[in-house]
């Protein structure tokens, strides 16, 4: 590994359980294969080991992290280690009293998701009634003077309402607004034809977001994350495999990204069996896609290989069947037609989604 590989962020996916059933959930589709296996003590040990490795940021995520009854204790543990802790939540189930306890325990900030500015579509894509509760939670977060990021996953069903979404964020006085286009993996890949927008829909939304970014400068940080299906070059996924991030799944797997455990042929260590430092520095799975030795052409001789690292390994596998292929989102990929054909197929799908596949636990 390179001396530049330095853990900055631990993503603790505390549970894959969630009251919502979002059609673009980024959790793996074999949710039931990864039950909650880590105790409070396990998680606190993982936090400590991550801090010793250099991690400064801790994302408390899921699934829905509020479903962990020991969340207050975990937040307090993170606070004692001086982490910047970010609770990444749907806002359900939460009471104002519990939010007060989380703040008292030392929580640094809250990232709340909404699905849309319009309650109907928001609840429909979340697979349950949740919109009003989310707004209530946003107001509590601000009342308690916790920093608030509003996260909205964008797709064909809500891109036309980006202006309304920005107005909602302003009315809630959020600190950050993350307009993140869907990444078409996991559940979103299953529902791709209903979610993937056209270039025109995307461009219109991007212009609105760009204007809002200027207008709200210094007040609300507005981020607009392009979908890589409409970028010429792939994303530097996770800032590179095993370079900045480490994720621990509910069953204790130490992973370089959210879906690495869906890649075949890699064996990921469990934090119950092996210390994080050893996993980070010496495990075969973390070494697998570090550096450039694994790269095929056109990546190997590309002058962008140190910028995007060949893109997303999970996207490469789930679209081409080969985790070591160039990310097909790149126009230089010999398999880029997989992306262009998906864009065409999405145009042929009616806007009103039929047969959406909702996130579910299947045994």
């Amino acid at each position: 590994m390179s001396t530049e590989d330095r853990l900055y962020t631990l993503i603790a996916e505390l549970t894959y359980l969630c009251p919502l059933r979002c059609v673009y959930c980024s959790n793996p589709t074999d949710l039931a294969a990864h039950p909650d296996r880590l105790s409070t003590t396990d998680w606190l040990r993982v936090f400590k080991q991550a801090a010793e490795l250099g991690a400064l940021q801790l994302n408390l995520s899921g699934g829905e992290p509020l479903l962990r009854r020991d969340l207050e204790e975990l937040v307090a543990g993170a606070h004692a280690l001086d982490f910047y802790s970010n609770l990444i939540t749907s806002g359900l189930p939460l009471t104002r009293e519990r939010l007060v306890r989380l703040k008292t325990a030392g929580l640094s900030s809250v990232q709340l998701s909404i699905q849309d500015s319009d309650p109907g579509p928001s609840d429909r894509l979340a697979g349950r009634e949740s919109f009003e509760q989310k707004l209530e939670v946003a107001r509590w977060v601000k009342e308690l003077e916790l920093p608030l990021t509003l996260n909205v996953v964008l797709h064909r069903q809500n891109l036309a309402r980006v202006a309304e979404i920005i107005a909602l964020a302003e009315s809630l006085s959020v600190d950050r607004l993350e307009l993140a286009n869907t990444q078409y993996l996991a559940w979103a890949l299953e529902n791709r034809s209903a979610l993937l927008p056209s270039q025109a829909e995307l461009d219109a939304a991007r212009e609105i977001a760009k204007a809002a970014k200027v207008r709200l400068k210094g007040k609300i940080e507005v981020l607009f994350v392009l979908p890589d299906y409409y970028s010429d070059r792939p994303k530097a996924c996770m800032s590179g495999w095993g370079k900045r991030y480490l994720l621990v799944s509910p069953d204790g797997l130490a992973l370089p990204c959210h879906l690495a455990h869906t890649l075949p042929g890699l064996s990921f260590d469990n934090v119950q069996d092996r210390p994080l430092d050893d996993i980070w520095h010496h495990s075969a799975a973390f070494a697998a896609f570090r550096g450039e030795a694994w790269m095929p052409e056109p990546c190997k001789s590309c002058d962008r290989r140190e910028l995007d690292f060949g893109g997303c390994r999970c996207q490469a596998f789930h679209l081409t069947g080969n985790a070591a292929a160039t990310d097909p989102a790149c126009t230089l990929s010999p398999q880029h037609a997989l992306i262009t054909e998906a864009r065409v197929a999405a145009r042929a799908t009616p806007l009103i989604p039929l047969g959406l596949r909702y996130r579910e636990f299947r045994r």
Binding site: L56, Y84, N86, S109, P147, G218, E221
Partner: protein
């Protein structure tokens, strides 16, 4: 750098989403906020330590001139540029 310059009377403070801490691995200060971190050089860290909402920019520049035994005219340019950049990014705010 932004063309605007903040008033010397402005009293900057860290935005609520920011946390300034020492990075033990590099022994440098880092400004943390959601999903990101800004690694600071010695001057940047020294400036932010004064950004507590009680000190005006002119007071901060004067204090830093003593700390760094440096010419305050040179420091003024550096401090104003740095502070304006962070105000634009919403990482610093003007205290009321």
């Amino acid at each position: 750098m932004s063309a605007e310059a903040p008033s010397l009377e402005l009293r900057p403070k860290l935005a609520p989403k920011c946390k300034l801490r020492l990075d033990p691995k590099t022994a440098k200060y880092i400004l943390l906020y959601p999903e990101k971190g800004l690694l600071l050089n010695a001057t940047g860290a020294a400036i932010l330590k004064h950004c507590d909402g009680t000190q005006s920019l002119s007071a901060i520049i004067a204090a830093l001139a003593v700390e760094f035994q440096s010419n305050s005219d040179v420091l003024r340019v550096e401090v104003l540029g740095f502070v304006q950049g962070l105000l634009d990014r919403g990482l610093l705010q003007a205290a009321p």
